[in-house]
Symmetry: C2
Subunit: 352 residues, 2 copies
Amino acid sequence: MGIHMDLIKTIEWKDDKVIILDQRRLPNEEVYNTYEDYLGVAQAIHGMVIRGAPAIGVAAAMGVALGAMGIGVGTFDAYYEKLIAICNRIASTRPTAVNLFWALDRMKACALANKDRPLNQITEILKAEALGIYSEDIESNRMIGRNGQKLLRDGMTVLTHCNAGGLATAGYGTALGVIYAASEAGKRIHVMADETRPRLQGAKLTAWELQKHGLQVTVIADTMAGHFMKKGKIDAVLVGADRIAANGDVANKIGTYQVAVLAARHKIPFYVAAPVSTIDPKISSGEEVPIEERDPQEVTHIGSIQITPKYVKVENPSFDVTPAELVTAIITERGVCEPPYAESIAQILGTA
Amino acid sequence: MGIHMDLIKTIEWKDDKVIILDQRRLPNEEVYNTYEDYLGVAQAIHGMVIRGAPAIGVAAAMGVALGAMGIGVGTFDAYYEKLIAICNRIASTRPTAVNLFWALDRMKACALANKDRPLNQITEILKAEALGIYSEDIESNRMIGRNGQKLLRDGMTVLTHCNAGGLATAGYGTALGVIYAASEAGKRIHVMADETRPRLQGAKLTAWELQKHGLQVTVIADTMAGHFMKKGKIDAVLVGADRIAANGDVANKIGTYQVAVLAARHKIPFYVAAPVSTIDPKISSGEEVPIEERDPQEVTHIGSIQITPKYVKVENPSFDVTPAELVTAIITERGVCEPPYAESIAQILGTA
């Protein structure tokens, strides 16, 4: 057996406050922000203090729990109306990751299921539900790791894009969770991390957490993945997901699609690791996923430095869609889905 | 007819000095450095004050001319020995672009061909030869433009990678020269420029010169090319080259290969524009091209800001090789080569 991976404290519920590791300040500073109200959490999600589909889901749930604590009304209907307003505010932060909406739906359903209880009890139940989503995320990540690590061999070099690690989840990781589970099983895995412009999550976050865990990581520019595949230096690709359609199309960080195209050309397996909560059975193909457009300044500037000439036009779609045909397997906590995905996904969701 | 493009003053010979636009300071500052000796020019090439295969060739020739002016010896043999030392110093600056070696070979051959003349006359002839290389580069760029612009239609969006413009040449451009010629012919072309990490030549240089010429340009991160191709937003790809093998394999800025793979998947033509001096008939395939590895700091830092955690390993190959099978056509000043390249290249070189 290999080493044991500690959890990263991406987000925690403590003394009725939410503590979030400020990912905008990594890797240089490890700063934990404290949020006492849901608006702060909404701003943290929008501003990418916390990011990564599963982590956004946990933050949304904890945000609702914080919000519920502040509702001071007498009837359930008035309480629920305020809860819906809180959920709507949090839902407006980011459009692509489905885990956000999944967590909000679950919090709303939880309140409704307990509508006959006293309101202060409902609030306690909502807090417990948020903590449940947090714990389940860690547990499902560990199961993803166990299911996925069987696909990795000792000595492999695995390319990852963006950050689908402890920092993108409640603390263990999806794509990186598979790497951690392989390491815990004694396999030596070398990770190549695309830097992932514009926000550099690979260079900043993936490198930071792999280094923290003592794993081997090499950062490359996004321009280099094809070159290293051609040179035979990459054995597998492993990424997370922000939303998976019923047909297996995968919405994930911009740049994922082209890595998948490159992997297919070089006959390198392309794996997606994600909890079942990332699957959106309501959409039939990835083309229906709303793609977030972010501030042009993410492209024109790096930190405070402007890299482009002034007034030059830029585009900044934050996600892209990888068609199912390019995906070798989708690793979930309930098992590994293989093509045809319409069937294997329905099976894992229990809707087959 | 459209607009007329002024030359960019990338490099000039003036009063027995070499004036080079410092590309490290673009797009924020337009600063022209003056070099009075060949060592300064060698450092300018090595440090990427000037870059781009054809521009490096011109700078090398002017560097040799500067160096020749400083040789104070009596016999041709002693003169030539010093000239070789100067050439060797300049040759050591960058390994991949063949135009550098081509220009140095041409300067040496010019000296040898005039060995029976007085030395001060040989020096004048070498100056004239360097100026000839400069003028021919502009003329060949304009011919590349005329030959290539026929491939572009009014209203097209063309993706380019790195900078193969006026800044990469004596002033007009190869890949961007084709865009300029199309504009001069009245066609409206929209350019998408990959930012081209690690050194951001697309975001900084290509955006700067297209904006200066009043053309439409949109900068995208290197992670976005595949996404926009999939969305049908890119009609053609047009890049330069640092060295082209006899079989049509193209060494060019890192990231070019993966753009070519993406273009092939989306059935988008992938054009390479380069002068004949970029073709290296001595190498049979791109795998023989020496690939420059540059300072890791280009990846770990952007400007003075460190983006990766400290001590993280990075890779920084500066070029990659695009196999001929992915190249739709190679546009030269003597005509457009199409597959099979072994034949069409031999024909253009007159070695068929």
